[in-house]
Symmetry: C3
Subunit: 348 residues, 3 copies
Amino acid sequence: MQINLREAAELVSGKIFGSEEITITNLAKIEEAQPGDLTFLYHQSYEKFFKLTRASAILVKPDFKKTRTDITYIETADPNIAFAKLIIHYFNPEFPLNGIDKTSSIHPEAKLGSNVSIGKNVVISNGCRIGNNVKIFHNTVLLEDVEIGDDCLIFQNVSIREKCKIGNRVIIHAGAVIGSDGFGYYNDDKGIFHKIPQIGNVVLEDDVEIGANVTIDRAAIGSTVIKKRVKIDNLVQVAHNVVIDEDSAVASQSGVAGSTKIGKHCLLAGQVGIIGHVEIADNVILLAQSGVSKGIPKAGTYFGSPAKEVKTTLKLEAHIRSLPEYADKIKKLEEQIKLLQEELKKLK
Amino acid sequence: MQINLREAAELVSGKIFGSEEITITNLAKIEEAQPGDLTFLYHQSYEKFFKLTRASAILVKPDFKKTRTDITYIETADPNIAFAKLIIHYFNPEFPLNGIDKTSSIHPEAKLGSNVSIGKNVVISNGCRIGNNVKIFHNTVLLEDVEIGDDCLIFQNVSIREKCKIGNRVIIHAGAVIGSDGFGYYNDDKGIFHKIPQIGNVVLEDDVEIGANVTIDRAAIGSTVIKKRVKIDNLVQVAHNVVIDEDSAVASQSGVAGSTKIGKHCLLAGQVGIIGHVEIADNVILLAQSGVSKGIPKAGTYFGSPAKEVKTTLKLEAHIRSLPEYADKIKKLEEQIKLLQEELKKLK
Amino acid sequence: MQINLREAAELVSGKIFGSEEITITNLAKIEEAQPGDLTFLYHQSYEKFFKLTRASAILVKPDFKKTRTDITYIETADPNIAFAKLIIHYFNPEFPLNGIDKTSSIHPEAKLGSNVSIGKNVVISNGCRIGNNVKIFHNTVLLEDVEIGDDCLIFQNVSIREKCKIGNRVIIHAGAVIGSDGFGYYNDDKGIFHKIPQIGNVVLEDDVEIGANVTIDRAAIGSTVIKKRVKIDNLVQVAHNVVIDEDSAVASQSGVAGSTKIGKHCLLAGQVGIIGHVEIADNVILLAQSGVSKGIPKAGTYFGSPAKEVKTTLKLEAHIRSLPEYADKIKKLEEQIKLLQEELKKLK
């Protein structure tokens, strides 16, 4: 791959400082870059690598101190976004899956759009409807009446249960399970669980991305809904009847219990847990390992288990770290009081 | 689907108030119900929807205030259970999997009962024995000598390793792995791990349900045992040689470390972790994200990491929230003491 | 299986006490052992079973009190390791997978070494290179250009994405996903996520073991690297560009966020979470459910969320448990101060 430096700079609305007469053939991380590579600097913790990097060119912020003269700089407002745009432009991976593999099992009543690619051993059941330009990788299974829009990418070993609906440009990574039964039982008077059939479905709207080995349960009744542009990381659990609203993101190993509603533009960091039957407002950020046991009606950043506003949690954490000191102070106060009491006794 | 209101009321030992001459065709959640739907009200947080619901009939508790006259009520002791019973009666899903698919690979030495349905690309290895009325969905793999009882439902992409034993009426959801190797190593004097072969198996007793992408490791030696009627939610980890006793339930993303024994009628909420080699008594409830680092010999509800009786944890949490106040008080006490000391000095 | 007691004792550098004229046919846990079984005692909590065990022989430490005369003892420095060595010697499981199954799909441009076994419905794509003595179980998928060394064991329903590189003697358990896209997006000024193509790969070095349903994301650019002899338990998440150094172990349901580097000989217990872009030193132990929000530059044992040195966490936990007492003391101090103030007033 030959990358023209001026073209690259234009793509990211950047300004070149230094030699433009260099040949760029690859993109690389700053600590691994070699001559011929273009790299980027955005996270402070990586500045230590700047002195040593062997990259030929580097994306930097306009205020970056250009202390080296043997490297070409491209100044750009956000080097991270700029680098991403270059990856998208020059290196967007294509997946060599073409046509309908003869080992796949496609029910004669299923309907496929144009330019659909179906991998080996894929199962597409009765009543499925698949749009145009969809790629479904090997060993993935769609049960009855699954609907998939256009331009979707569904990786291998994915399970999509009956009646689930998937929008356009949705990506589902390997091993994800969409539409498994919700965890729904009722207890009889002997404390024995009886399964409640889960007769709803899962709806993934346009531009949703679902990570590897994620599980999204079908609704008990109605739909579990992942709205437009929501991004869900690996090993996340979404329980029955949950709704996650537009443009939210859920990082790995987080779990959302049944019937909870998460607002727009929310961010759940890793290993967050949210109880069932609550509502989380728009623009709520939950830091890693937070545990949410009641609704959050107000935008903001929350942390801890149980989750509180992050300022509160950090302040309380500082107090917790001071507990040995507080205990000492209490002890000292007790001694001082005792002394005072004794002295006062003497005075009386 | 036409639902006869009187029949429905009888099924749930209910009493009708209002018009019986209505036609019910579906069941729906209160906030989504349309004319012709029967809904239910059991969770206080949903009462706000009662005024607005378009449902034609509603299951309510006997003490519910029937403020609307345009809706038919069915009074029943537990509307949640009643609704579940109606779902089971009218909507229990049937899975259209019939016969042995010709793309499946069934070893000639495997034994299948009557009315067994095997999906596409299913692998059933040498020595497997499968009971009657079992459905095994597409792309599921059984290694050697797996035994499965009657009336089981095993969804797609499930892995069952060699020698595992599965009872009657067991349900296993997509992507679950039953019988993977336990995480067993010994360290040599250089701190290098050496794998200990895991030569036991997994036993799932009657009426167990296993969620999507669950992992249950085979015993190092002997059996990992999930006893009768235990229900396990998605993405749960059960380590080698664990025993979970009858009628317990484990919610999503919880993990139980090696050789731990969990009693009867226990409930683990989501993201709970239990250390290895301990015993949990019968009737123990562990609230979400609890971390258990030693055995729990007494029934009760526990919470926190490390887990304590829930009352204790909530009391301590309240104290933690008061820490800034305590710190202020200590500071004030110190100042007051100082003043007292000075005044006392003057008096002497 | 007939086990010769003298041979077994020699294998573990052990010394026999009691009758050598017994026939051993199996290995068993102490609480389940039957006549003819050899068992072992290493964990204090199992000593209660010693009085009752029906085992014919038992591995014990040299200082164990041999109070029973109806059982043969083998004294050995570490009964746990000794038992493991006997399992490896006498019971190492063999997996009856032989030859290339005719239902597998192997691309003509893929290269396979000698003595490779490929199960049913396995997909091996263009450009894959597989070493000698490798077993790949049913329904596993390798996308393009995957490289696998010698003597690997890859169980069923595993997904390995394009360009990933796997060393020698690597074991990958069922349902694991190697090389899924990292969770990488950039936000535009409307807060909408745009996917950054993840164009790196995953490298698993020699003697790595990967648990069931684990997810290891490919690097955004460069490689996510799991170094020699690292062992990863079920349902663990390893994000893009993480490096886990030699001889470390990660227990179930732990997660490591993007670009974090974990040192050599580290141990992560279950459900640990580590934030992205930090470094963890060699020989760091993180106890269960710990949450790490910054780098750990020093070897040691850490615990809690946020993680602190274990001594500190346990001390603070003890203080937290004392909070009701501290609150009482503060209240009492306040009363005493008030009394003192009043008495002092009187004196003036």
